[in-house]
Symmetry: D2
Subunit: 302 residues, 4 copies
């Protein structure tokens, strides 16, 4: 990603004008404001605004008149309790607004999270930039042999080179033809809302995305997960770092009770109890399918 000098100047100007506010301020978040965190080859995540901090979660949970916080330790205990017992509403009391630049095929996954507010750059109204996601060599991955919905190791040698060549050439040609179609130089020019259909899904788009902390954490649980597609996971990872600075106690609870947690089925819990008592359990005696048994083994093996 490289911002233009004009864009950098705009960011610098925004950051050079602190104002006084009576609102809650998260010091960890102020340092992120407006800076573009690079993701993939041309993408980024930028924090545009935020509301609330760890204390605001407790304040809402307690429906307080004032700050609503007690000792920091006491607050962290409450936040962990709320997270562990699936209380969602106090976490909804924090809000974040991001500016994200991302490939269209990533945007199409992302938008499926419906409980958020979105303003996307309009390719009906405006002309898209010539910026395409071309994977780094180590991310040009083979189809997974075991998982229809995943990828295996990196392609190598000639095959990788061929893929790279195709992606670059098709991106360039599609964009050249997009420009040729909308050009009003010696012709009328095709409507932008039609011309955009020629652009492939690795072109970059951008949007403002605003979401509350509860729904953001749900997004991160799914998209920062090892099974998520790499190209959306890197955005989720970048946002995780931001959240850790914004609401550190909530983020720690999220790591312990969501990201690092496992959910065991009734059958799994039953096997577990038998195993702790010293019984040897295998798939045959577990009551689980082969697939569930494999998932169970992954949970309990270090």
């Amino acid at each position: 990603m490289s911002l233009t000098p004009e864009q950098n100047a705009e960011i610098d100007e925004l950051r050079s004008n602190p104002s006084e506010t009576l609102r809650v301020v998260s010091e960890g978040m102020e340092k992120h404001l407006y800076h573009a965190i690079p993701v993939l080859d041309h993408g980024f995540v930028r924090v545009i605004d935020y509301m609330g901090d760890d204390a605001a979660i407790c304040q809402a949970a307690r429906v307080s008149y004032g700050k609503g916080t007690k000792s920091v330790q006491n607050d962290e205990g409450l936040i962990r309790y709320l997270m562990r017992h699936w209380h969602s509403t106090p976490f909804e009391m924090c809000e974040i607004k991001l500016h994200v630049k991302l490939p269209v095929f990533v945007a199409r996954q992302w938008i499926r999270h419906r409980t958020a507010n979105v303003n996307e750059y309009s390719a009906r109204y405006s002309i898209l930039d010539r910026e395409f996601y071309i994977p780094a060599p180590e991310n040009i991955a083979a189809q997974s042999a075991v998982n229809n919905q995943g990828r295996g190791g990196a392609l190598e040698g000639e095959e990788a080179a061929r893929v790279l060549e195709i992606l670059k050439a098709d991106s360039a040609r599609s964009y050249d033809n997009y420009q040729a179609m909308i050009s009003q130089d010696g012709q009328e020019g095709l409507a932008r809302e039609l011309a955009r259909m020629n652009l492939p899904a690795n072109i970059y788009t951008q949007w403002y995305w605003k979401v509350d902390l509860h729904n953001l954490l749900h997004f991160l649980r799914l998209r920062a997960d090892a099974h998520a597609q790499y190209e959306i996971r890197v955005y989720a990872d970048a946002i995780c770092n931001v959240v850790a600075d914004w609401v550190p106690a909530a983020y720690r609870a999220f790591e312990d009770y969501r990201m690092g947690a496992v959910t065991m089925s009734a059958q799994m819990v039953d096997c577990l109890r038998r195993m702790i008592k010293g019984e040897t359990v295998d798939q045959d005696t577990s009551g689980m399918s082969a697939r569930e048994w494999r998932e169970f083994k992954e949970m309990i093996d270090s």
Copy 2:
């Protein structure tokens, strides 16, 4: 409404500690922060936090790198265009968090607006205060004779006195009995989650309510309307004043294109065109039902 000295001290403390922020600040809103705006006899609305201002609406609509605003005049024109043409997403980019104290029967109407975040004071967990809404004499209104769902003029004389007497006596007795049931003085004490069922719908509850500007304006359009029940309308009116200070341009557009606007049916538009051409139209020749015709007349008669 009267806050306790402790509550006032908490508010004063919150207001006495401005912090620096790089975020957008709405000066009009800063002056409201934390103060309790009295509503009804014991209720209030307090702004706890906010995100964004008029410029933030334009910034999102333009998916800008920087402030995204042009001249103030240019911005107001864009905001009016967006409002007039029912663009909802840019208005969703502003957010407000309120602390509201309100009678339960008002809360029951309010909660029907689902696109908001709510943390209500829990009567399972805590003991409710002895505070009940008792209408002022001019608000003790008769059932409307023409509208099943509305009220007519104020009751007078003995009837009004009787109503007042009933509301006061039943509130007091219910609360006394609530206390008697949960008391652990010489007895086990009924569970709070059960005892609360004895309390009438004019008891006050409170909650944190967080909503984006688009959904807030939708709420205000319905609840600040002349047909809304008085007891919720006064809350909507109080919030309207806050919004006018927070996002003045958006609020003016809201007044012009929502609150002061009318929607005319296909039939009404047809009649209108005929009338402007000089034709005399009455209900018989209008194609409307008597009720629609009456509504139409109200729209066009000054």
Copy 3:
């Protein structure tokens, strides 16, 4: 609960008129249609309509042209996979519409589940019936000594009798006064929208409630849970029985992966792995708080 002869006649009439449809039909659900399942002393749950069945979940997950189902066994495997891996959208493809009669304090908890459609009986427009929830003796429970938000054992003897007496007397008096205030016999009559504020939270209301299967299961997970308040849990239990007949495979998966499942934190999983290897772990060496440790022990002890 007792329906009037007129209401029973309406139900009988609805059930006596089968129609032909090309839509998917769930035989298990047809037998429930319109019948009122009694809950609490005057409440009920009635299935008014439904869309989809187990096969419809698979059909949507596969985005099929036709039925989209393979063998029943194959379908159940897919449903279990989807449930286990938190795929929510295929379950959203089934929908149910219920008519529920319930005390107001239960309705106030219920409505916090926002992703549903609701039409409630309007006490602004209509007059409420004289029906109040009076707990059976075994449900007049003491405040829990260990859990601020729960109840302990049943109250006994005089204390229980006193509670019962209060609830009955206050309900009766409130309703008498409600009637007296709205009466137009020799007086104008107070507006219904005001008079309702005198009614306590154990009065019954009713609503049509429509929700998709994914959100219904989320509701049931929270409200059929042992920690939910008894008075809402009995509604959840009644609905569980209906769902088990409607989408049996999805319901079995729900029991295994939600109701009977446990979520273990990162710390818990770590302890578990150590225990399975034979290490003795106690709270001190677990890295958990006392409360978390207690919750962990409950999970693994049979």
Copy 4:
């Protein structure tokens, strides 16, 4: 659009098996079930399931025990009243499930309507078909000269031919390369989740889309509007025809109070009243901007 013989056989099989149900049946809708209504060159809309009819709207509005309908005339009056006065919840009590095949750039607009359930064909998991939207000659439109976000007349002659040539050639080449990259013939094969990024936005995707009637009508108001992009409007038009058969009274009310209605601002209403009294009003004396005045003139001129 052409379905394969297998797909037609699946549809025929589904339609040849009527079942008995006690649920409400909409005769107008039964005839549509499963049939694919062709839209654009390869797209379609198919009704997979539905819940409710006109009477179900009234039944919910009245929170009835039985059918809840009175005379058909009475029901239509209620439906019109509900529509006119923006009552949304009774319309949410009807639900529809569609199977839609549509170009990706149309899908990207469509998905912005968040209050719906969606299952899209997964290009991570499966291989997309070689089907691209190529506009008919009359729809290869020029960029609008007056509206940044719209199209003007059809391109002609050589320019149109060139556009057509580009769209066809780029679609074919992109798909050939997509196939070449995922091929496992003599190579590992690129992961599908990556290869899809080479495909342009005119490729067809498909999804199951389920929505309630209130939100569907909101979608139709925006997308069947003359200002909507042609390629989504034709889908909205096809769905309008289905809705007219499903809930005829609600659809008539929708036409009168939404599609054929206009919303006039406070300033417009003021001008109107002056004009009806005989005053001559022009933009200068109207208090409107030039743009608003033009919109006003369009409303009142036949």
